[in-house]
Amino acid sequence: MANRSAAAPAAVPERQQWSGQLGFIVSAIGSAVGLGNIWRFPGVAYANGGGAFIIPYLVALLTAGVPILFLDYALGHRFRGSPPLAFRRMAGRGGRWAESIGWFQVMICFFIAIYYAAILAWAASYFVFSFDQRWGEDTIGFLTQTYLQTDGATGGLLAPVAGVLLPLAAIWVVAIVVMAFGVKKGVERANFIAIPVLVIAFGALVVRALFLPGASEGLNSLFTPSFQALADPQVWIAAYAQIFFSLSIAFGIMLTYSSYRRRRSNLTSPGLVVAFANSTFEILAGVGVFSILGFMAHENGQTMAQLSDENAITGVLLSFVTFPKVVSQMPGAAVFGALFFGSLLLAGFTSLISILQVISGALQDKFHLSEKAAAVRMGLPVALISLACFGTKAGLPNLDVVDKHINEVGIVVSAIATMVVALWVYRKGGELSWHLARLSTFKVGAAWRFLVGVLSPAVLGYILVATVYQFLAEPSADYSLRLVLTAGWGSLALAVLVAAAMVLLPWRQDPLPFQPYPAYEGVK
């Protein structure tokens, strides 16, 4: 039963806080800048109009990325809670089930955390491997057979791989320790250390890459514009998808982070800094990655088109198959490899702790736990599941299938549900835009409500339908139907079931009634 002794208005809950605006901005940038900036953006831009891609990318950033980011900020800050608490308070007394959207976001974070940590473990291992380039010439064979010891599409779930298990366990220990120190002493401090190191390491990598032979050919292939591509709707969809996936929006992270801001906080202007910092890092990654690929093409006597036909230029395969090949061909290979995999590790780690903060924050709110208790009670089971699923011979197939379904379906569902429920079901568009404008130096109004209430749900709805249709019409030939049903659709189904079940559990402290600050004066 809920603790009814706490039924007095919870207008002034005790809540962790960032040390200030800078701590929030650096942590939010640390969350937004992740693996996708380094390994996804360059390849997506190259395949979708090259230099011309910047036009749909910018349009998508301003019409969907930034507006949804502001929606996350508004929900978290106005209703002072992790996703379940914020949705519960937004919906009020009669809206108990709105909380399930928050728990669905928490479950999305749970699934991402368990495989994201595994990729960081691979990056940590490859950081070490860089010093002797032990991947040799057959980099794909080294990744799948020697390092991951992949055992078919479905087998190997109970066969641990020590080379993955140990770094993965280390990643989890560090992450849990950071979480246990809380928002200010843990998450914020980790970001204050990691982000400057990341900028210096990745900046050094990019500068070195620019002076490699063939770098200009690589940049030429990335930035030569193909303006006729702008007539292709798929290019625009790719731009919206890139922005959407790279900004850490609509699955609880930015909502949770903004809930730790003081009541008197400027929301939108720091949001612009975070969004443009994320884009800047993506452009920097594009320059670095394509300079390096240009060098590889030069060394192999290939054109960039031939190189991209024969080698992966996005995702896991870019990082752990193509890049090791290039590193081996480079002067100063050890330093170059260490800079690349070190950057991947840092960028990913700051994103991982933001993902974990959503889960930890939700448990703290629902069960009234301290940050230490939440870190241990959340961290240990999540770490064990991660180790069991991804520290084994079935790690690679599991990761690929879960990632595809959770990212391309789960997050999009979460975003659409958030916008529809907040703006159409509970009609909070006016109150939320008023909240943003009342506290911030950069004002938003009717245009923002249109973007998050109409345009973004429509674009994301189209992306969702197209993705689900593709998943059903063209099932992956690489994995068995059983794996796709269990790890893929099964993960999504489990997320929905747990989200519904969590609503039935009582709050340790009644989240209602709640008086948001400032009191809503209506849209003028």
Binding site: E14, A277, S279, I283
Partner: protein, 45 residues
């Protein structure tokens, strides 16, 4: 590099780092609003 590629590289730099610099400058110039509403009693701000 071709002229078109150089132009788009320059445009990309202008757009992303340029907007970042502008947003940082805007935030530095106006870090907070001047007239926050009164806080609730005992608020943690």
């Amino acid at each position: 590099m071709t002229g078109a590629a150089i132009a788009m590289l320059a445009a990309s730099i202008l757009v992303a780092p340029g907007c970042l610099a502008a947003s940082v400058a805007f935030l530095a110039a106006r870090p907070e609003i001047a007239d926050y509403p009164p806080s609730p009693p005992g608020a943690d701000d």
